[in-house]
Amino acid sequence: MKDIDKSFKKDTETDFPLREEMRPRKVTTPDGQVIDIDPLQDYFCQEPPKVHRKSYSAIVEGFYNWARANSLWILGFGTGCGAIEMRPLMTPRFDAYRYGIQWRPTPRQSNLLVISGYLSVKTLKRAIRAYEQMPQPKYVVGLGSCTINGGMYWDSYNTIKKLDEYLPVDLYIAGCMPRPEALLAGLMDLKKLIRKGEAEGANRYAENFDWYKANQKSVIKDWDMPDYSW
């Protein structure tokens, strides 16, 4: 393996200036208003998420946690290679439905975001968006080595290395790629966490929102996103 060139420094402004569509500009909306647009700003997350307290009654919270654990709805968003091992879970061989695990096509109805492997910067933006659209309490599972420490793409210029810098992760499943059995074992562990009331990633995200946002912004330059494009 070649050693890295220590002298490598980015000098982007002079050599490679910003593309035209990424520069701040004025745009006329369909109804005639003139608005300022800065594609490098994240318009979607101006308002921080709220911290949601647990239920006051421990018994109620316990019951809720039981229900949450036994009705895990996973967002059908295959961010990377691992998605291919999620498909067997929905099908006869492994049939995760019998454990109360189902797939939903929309983030609004999902509780669990499985980051199935590496996340390119472009997908990270969509994954963050999807995560923020999911209702509380929500969980994130990092599937595969790439989510832990970059995995195979440790030196890639386009994938993140540490998922927990950008999203609050409840659980990791190691392997490249993890088999459906391992994924299922991970989901069972997640259930236990939820029942114990320890899967409070969403609140962690809300409490440390500034930190997460800063990390996200250090990686994602272009926050311009079409509506409803997750």
Partner: protein, 301 residues
């Protein structure tokens, strides 16, 4: 029959039984579908857990008043549909308010829920919801056309629009059922049933592959819980109408359970093994096959 306050309690009891029946039965149907795939499928009580889970969700994002009201309207449609037809024929407790309503009201309720949903989903501002709604309205209209014609044929046949009376006319023998007395109307109505049960090949309204589940795409937490409740209630209520109109009604809960399940299985039988039509294909299908049968039913009465 006159209204008494106790009827409200009775109706609530009926509602309670029907919802639970729906919960269990839809789960069972999903298990049956899963068997065709070769799976075990969800646990039989999964619907209850999902319901509890959705209620347990903490954050609730709203898109305005109509967004709230959508599921409420939809549930109202389901409840209304159920309450104005007799669930158990001849039972004081479970005849609901059927004396107060008639076929026209029932048909109205079938539509009411859909419209409410359309409004609510439209409010969510999601393009997929909007597409789903426009598809849904177009398709439901044509799908209910044969149903409406069948109902018309029925009212001609029995010379009444009172459901209780129609049920009463079918008692006595198996062959008194409309199914045998007026098979054409039954077939026409079944077009409507299959067309509105949101199963393949007529489920393009909420097709996950094209418009992620369509109208309810933005619904979550308690809103979704409401819709879920409705989703188990509404089909059963619809099935109850069919049972009453064409299959002789039910005189006790056991008969109800069996008949409702059997009728419910008709669209399931078709749905599990077929891909879905595009919306204009299903419209054309109903116009081409459902509508003539319905007209024929009226003509032959």
């Amino acid at each position: 029959m006159s209204f008494e306050w106790i009827h409200v309690a009775y109706a609530a009891l009926t509602l309670f039984i029907v919802i639970n029946y729906g919960m269990i039965m839809t789960a069972l149907v999903r298990k049956i579908g899963a068997r065709v795939s070769g799976r075990y499928g969800i646990p039989i009580w999964q619907n209850y857990i999902d319901l509890a889970k959705n209620i347990a969700l903490r954050s609730k994002v709203t898109h305005g008043a109509m967004f709230y009201l959508g599921p409420v309207f939809r549930l109202t449609g389901g409840v209304g549909l159920l309450l104005f037809v007799p669930t158990i024929y001849g039972s004081v407790m479970h005849q609901n308010f059927s004396y107060a309503g008639d076929l026209i009201l029932a048909l109205y309720f079938v539509f009411f829920g859909t419209l409410g949903m359309a409004l609510g989903a439209g409010e969510s501002g999601h393009p997929h919801a909007a597409i789903g709604v426009s598809r849904g309205l177009a398709q439901v209209t044509t799908a209910e056309l044969p149903l409406a014609l069948a109902v018309y044929a029925l009212s001609l046949q029995y010379q009444t629009i009172d459901i209780t009376e129609i049920v009463a006319a079918q008692q006595g023998s198996l062959f008194n059922w409309t199914l045998f007395t007026n098979p054409l109307a039954t077939v026409a109505a079944l077009f409507g049933l299959v067309g509105t049960m949101m199963r393949s090949p007529f489920d393009v309204v909420m097709a996950p592959q094209e418009i992620p589940i369509g109208p309810p795409t933005e619904y979550h937490s308690s809103y979704l819980a409401l819709m879920q409740t409705n989703r188990v209630l509404f089909p059963v209520a619809k099935v109850v109408i069919f049972m009453n109109l064409f299959f002789g009604g039910a005189t006790n809960w056991a008969e109800f359970a069996v008949k409702a399940f059997a009728i419910y299985m008709i669209p399931v039988l078709i749905g599990v093994v077929n891909p879905r039509f595009r919306v204009e294909q299903s419209i054309r299908f109903f116009l081409k096959w459902g509508l003539p049968v319905g007209i024929l039913a009226i003509v032959t009465v």
